[in-house]
């Protein structure tokens, strides 16, 4: 009997402790300092993965037979606002991508300008942070060519991508999507400003007319509806300070895992 009581007590102790620990974990999840601490795991992953993958290691490329019949879009499917609608109705003829920030030669690219530059076509696997994958064929201008034209200054460390899609619910206080890559990822041979998907101009749901492909990263890094490319030394003072729209919502800046 004494043993049974003891066992009962120990079981209740274990269950009670477990519940308390999990409630504590929920509290940590909610606190900014707790979440900052947990993100150190991702900081370490950034350093270690960079060590293994280096600058040039390529993402696997697939064959035409592997291409998904429909490339699953995610996030913004049609940017809100009249301005974008007008661009879409006009086949994006007046769309410009501004290249600026810490560069020697700021300039603007129209779609014909972009298409006139050497292109790269790659059939790659898109990995969404949610866990699914989809294969598509992307054609676009290697970002390294665009950056080479702009000549980044010595203190430029990150490439910021400004986008046309407003993530706010009602558009009253616009929150335009933005993202950032470090220079290693930006200069990677498979990092392109894509304008074609499966041989056709990019559909609106997939980021028309220009989206980023950074094939060693998860989908949320690959900004759609790109309007500007800005080189910066740090993103600490930009928007929420975390280097991207989803990063400002708690997602880690390093999205290699």
């Amino acid at each position: 009997m004494a043993d049974a009581n003891r066992r009962n007590f120990l079981t209740r102790l274990a269950v009670g402790t477990g519940a308390a620990v999990l409630a504590g974990c929920d509290k940590i999840s909610q606190s900014a300092s707790g979440s900052d601490f947990l993100k150190k795991g991702s900081d370490l992953a950034y350093k270690v993965q960079r060590l293994f993958a280096g600058r040039e290691a390529l993402a696997p490329e697939f064959s035409k037979a592997d291409i998904a019949p429909v490339f699953r879009p995610n996030g913004t499917l049609y940017p809100m606002g009249e301005a974008y609608k007008a661009h879409a109705a006009d086949n994006f003829r007046d769309w410009r991508v501004k290249v600026g920030g810490l560069v020697e030669h700021p300039f603007e690219l129209s779609l014909p300008d972009l298409r006139a530059l050497p292109s790269r076509t790659q059939i790659t696997r898109h990995d969404c942070v949610e866990g699914w994958s989809c294969i598509g064929e992307w054609t676009g201008t290697p970002l390294r060519l665009v950056l080479a034209k702009a000549k980044p200054k010595d203190n430029a460390r990150f490439v910021l991508f400004h986008c046309a899609d407003d993530m706010s619910r009602d558009g009253l206080q616009p929150q335009l999507y933005y993202e950032s890559l470090d220079l290693v990822e930006a200069l990677h041979p498979q990092t392109i400003l894509a304008y074609d998907l499966n041989g056709q101009p990019l559909p609106i749901a997939n980021g028309a007319p220009v989206r980023l492909r950074a094939e060693r990263q998860l989908g949320y890094k690959m900004a759609k509806y790109v309007t500007g490319i800005e080189l910066v030394e740090s993103f600490a003072d930009i928007r929420g300070g975390n280097g991207g729209y989803w990063e400002d919502q708690g997602y880690t800046w390093w999205a290699g895992i």
Binding site: R7, L22, C25, A45, A59, A68, D127, V129, G250, I257
Partner: protein
């Protein structure tokens, strides 16, 4: 400690130092880390509660999925589909209650970390504790090899395997080794510990890394070994399920074979056995 000092209903016991400090630390660190890995992993799974085979997601043909449907009366039901078999799993998988309301959700709130839906937070937990899981596992493996704990206690030998049928029957009859015999792991224990530590552990880490697009560029072999990123994700999930099964069996065995004595052994290192003539 007083109330733990005599083992269950055995008048004559002798205390034997069984688990070294390193084994005990590794055990408890692993227990806590695994719980967080499992619950944050289920949170991540909930962002897209479906599994596939191959490189990519064939959205119309998942191996397993947990979805929610709305009935004509407006009621939300959770449906778990495995292959072509469908099960109504409302309340647990596919749809479960939050604040008194049934909502679409892969695994229920009590099984995920954090309890509310947050992929961002689930990933923060998972990728922080993944490091602890790996470091703790590596430290244990180095210790086990260096101290010969591995060869002596964990690796099943030919002699052990010969005992497999007998041990199997003994376990089914809930007859556990007593006395000196209880000091050595029997073959089922060896097989279980060996499989979980040296097969399931590395497998769950490697399949986890295969899901990383950056690791796939550094080690494309991973994709070859596991048959693609989505296969790796499915194997990763099955490994987690394997850990859960191991945990359940482990706890049942601990309870059936003398819970207080076992608990004392894994906390203090001292295990009580019946004295020879006892």
């Amino acid at each position: 400690m007083a109330f733990l000092s005599h083992a269950e209903d055995v008048p004559e016991t002798r205390l034997v130092y069984r688990h070294t400090l390193w084994v005990r630390i590794a055990h408890w660190v692993n227990a806590g880390v695994l719980l967080i890995m499992l619950m944050s992993g289920l949170q991540i799974f909930n962002a897209h509660p479906a599994l596939y085979w191959g490189a990519t997601s064939d959205f119309d043909n998942p191996i397993l999925s947990m979805t929610a449907i709305q009935t004509q009366t407006g009621e939300i039901r959770g449906i778990t589909q495995i292959g072509s078999a469908r099960f109504d799993t409302t309340g647990v998988f596919g749809a479960s209650e939050i604040f008194g309301q049934v909502v679409p959700r892969g695994f229920p709130a009590w099984a995920t970390l954090p309890s509310w839906r947050s992929l961002a937070s689930g990933r923060q937990w998972h990728f922080f504790f993944a490091w602890l899981f790996v470091f703790n596992g590596l430290a244990f493996a180095i210790y086990a090899f260096a101290s010969r704990h591995f060869g002596r206690d964990l690796l099943p030998k030919k002699r052990d395997l010969k005992n497999l049928p007998k041990d199997f029957v003994d376990h089914l009859r809930l007859r556990f080794p007593k006395g000196e015999e209880a000091l050595h792991y029997n073959v089922l224990q060896k097989l279980a510990y060996f499989t979980v530590i040296f097969i399931l552990g590395p497998l769950i880490v490697l399949t986890g890394l295969t899901m990383s697009p950056t690791m796939d560029t550094a080690f494309p072999e991973l994709l070859f070994i596991f048959g693609g990123r989505q296969s790796a994700r499915t194997i990763h999930f099955l490994c987690a399920f394997g850990f859960v099964i191991f945990f359940v069996v482990h706890i049942v065995m601990v309870i059936l074979s003398g819970p207080l004595n076992n608990l004392r052994a894994i906390v203090t290192g001292c295990y009580g056995i019946e004295a020879k003539d006892g």
